[in-house]
Symmetry: D5
Subunit: 94 residues, 10 copies
Amino acid sequence: MLFKVEMTVNIPSSLPSAEVEAIKAKEKAYSQRLQREGKWPHIWRVVGQYANVSIFDVADNQELHDILTALPLYPWMAISVQPLCAHPSSIHNE
Amino acid sequence: MLFKVEMTVNIPSSLPSAEVEAIKAKEKAYSQRLQREGKWPHIWRVVGQYANVSIFDVADNQELHDILTALPLYPWMAISVQPLCAHPSSIHNE
Amino acid sequence: MLFKVEMTVNIPSSLPSAEVEAIKAKEKAYSQRLQREGKWPHIWRVVGQYANVSIFDVADNQELHDILTALPLYPWMAISVQPLCAHPSSIHNE
Amino acid sequence: MLFKVEMTVNIPSSLPSAEVEAIKAKEKAYSQRLQREGKWPHIWRVVGQYANVSIFDVADNQELHDILTALPLYPWMAISVQPLCAHPSSIHNE
Amino acid sequence: MLFKVEMTVNIPSSLPSAEVEAIKAKEKAYSQRLQREGKWPHIWRVVGQYANVSIFDVADNQELHDILTALPLYPWMAISVQPLCAHPSSIHNE
Amino acid sequence: MLFKVEMTVNIPSSLPSAEVEAIKAKEKAYSQRLQREGKWPHIWRVVGQYANVSIFDVADNQELHDILTALPLYPWMAISVQPLCAHPSSIHNE
Amino acid sequence: MLFKVEMTVNIPSSLPSAEVEAIKAKEKAYSQRLQREGKWPHIWRVVGQYANVSIFDVADNQELHDILTALPLYPWMAISVQPLCAHPSSIHNE
Amino acid sequence: MLFKVEMTVNIPSSLPSAEVEAIKAKEKAYSQRLQREGKWPHIWRVVGQYANVSIFDVADNQELHDILTALPLYPWMAISVQPLCAHPSSIHNE
Amino acid sequence: MLFKVEMTVNIPSSLPSAEVEAIKAKEKAYSQRLQREGKWPHIWRVVGQYANVSIFDVADNQELHDILTALPLYPWMAISVQPLCAHPSSIHNE
Amino acid sequence: MLFKVEMTVNIPSSLPSAEVEAIKAKEKAYSQRLQREGKWPHIWRVVGQYANVSIFDVADNQELHDILTALPLYPWMAISVQPLCAHPSSIHNE
């Protein structure tokens, strides 16, 4: 089941940079694990923004919520979620 | 070069339904040709809306503009365009 | 899987009232069938508006999309969809 | 008398985590007491957000105000309230 | 139980003026009956707008909805409703 | 001359609570004096918000500005002002 | 007593141009009479818009409402009203 | 050449009050000098706000920018600028 | 003197296509004459929109207003105007 | 390939002024290098704002993203990006 998720990151300058780097490293590892598992099939950077457009493929709403709130950067993210489904013109089975 | 494009369709009820069906058939054929050519790699339906979320992969801005304005449903669409690029955490080369 | 759906109806005055009544009767029957099947567990009227707040319980995004776009009043509705999941403080298993 | 209430929580990072945990525990107990009393019949988590969609069933506006402003998390919440009433298509007596 | 209700009227120019005058006369009579009954204790004109700010005093949400949707001008109104309660600084028992 | 004024209060948590209580006491006394003088004929609490809807009856714009900017809570308020006048359907002389 | 009023005109193309010209001539005469009487001391055109920024100097809210709703173009105008008063830095007595 | 400029001031409470008073005094002197020079022909207070509506009469865009960014309160202002020109109904040569 | 002007065109489908083509031809000729005169130094198409981003270089506000309102497509355009001036980092004298 | 980019700068007052000056100097040098390379062909100041309107001419989305996120002022900027292409009425080859 597919969802478009848009995330915008806003880390306050008061957070020590070593801590920021540690969080970003965890975020990357966490994201790549989910990508390898097929639950986060697409992630793109938005040009000029510290933001991404992502597609998630999950079993249900609960799994998506659990994945998103476990993001290491979650406390500093604004997140919007939009449920998707198959488009009748799509030639892909996605 | 990737772009997220969101299209919302709003066909006035005054348009004869035969004409609407003809336009939709052309739209589907046009979309599927571009999907097969790899220029429109993703299209998803937004749940509960006559709308889609699409990813386009084009040579440049001009090509995207030409593709979008040639959509058979273009006169009845609200379109938003957002340029994308590679995300540093992505495991895919897209 | 639960979704909050908000629907606002805006029927143009140009639609003949007999046709409007027929559509509303179909809408009511359709809604009540889905309520009896447990797929539309809640529907409330918004005070002062021709609008409702509803909760849907469906198998997946696709089923919700199919249900919503088959609403007899769908062509005259503005619809917003928000995915829900269990709240950790809830005493109910919903 | 029914109301849809949407609450979004935004706890500043400056609040000590022990204090945050204590407030959340009080919030849970307070919410569950009201749920058991039938005044807060539904609470759902919004996917991807520290937010909920709730239905309250209270005697009047004043009781709703008193309940909401007594929420332990009230000082860190953005709250919106929408009065509801019976929908003529509902098969339930709610 | 008190509610602030704001109504903005937008009558299409296609409605014959005799019909408009008849509707407005009914609206005035309807409003004044509710004012005399104490259910619509205040109505003010917004300067420069075909709009009003009103206070309603009703038994419950359902009564307010029934009153508003029975307004003769209801089909041409945009309505917003805000539940009110006693202010702790008020010297009045309202 | 009547005005609808809506005030939303947002006191930063950094303000010492003793100071907050002192300001609120002054605010209440100030508001009640103006109510007794007939310049602030109505004040209602907005349900679920630290906000009010008020009606002011003043000699002119300048008097309203002077009253509002002298509110003890003024530095922490967002204020919106809307000029009102008699509604032709009103049965009251207000 | 001063008010800033912003008016944006939107005349539907279905209105016959002779009628439009007649209304505009009446609007100009009406506006100039009020300017000569000192009640409409300033009117400026907004660059690139069929809109104006105006200052009105009236006895009270009621007079402003009566002046605005009597504008020949009133049925095709969107109007916003903002009450003004003396600025403490002004060197003018306005 | 005329411009409508709207300024809203938001001074953080962390600024020492002696400093605030010094800045306001400079602001007043600066504003009055420009008023006397005819470059700032009108300034009005917005009722209930720490904001003003102003009219500037300058040689060109650059001069307006230089004047605005030299305002002593500029670092704490939100500013909007709207270019104006003569209104064909105006009886004044402004 | 420079201005950024953004124009969005919305031609109703009721306008006969021959008339539309005639207006567009006039628009193009008019635009190109102003470009050659140096008053409209830049015009770009917005990707996916029937809209443009333009830079105008005019003597004053009045000239810009006269140019914009004389656009053959003006009655079907939404226009926004933003005054510009030299940027201190620019290496160009524009 | 052209993009309109709008940047608004908001430097917190807590940043030491020596640091601010150093960042601004780097920003200016960085901008002028890109201007000389032809990648940032236009930059204009928005009147009354610490903001600019810029045109970028880059090879692709990725290059634009890399340029923008390397701006010395990037951490304190709000940035919006709009892809542009040739306008059919343009007499320039840009």
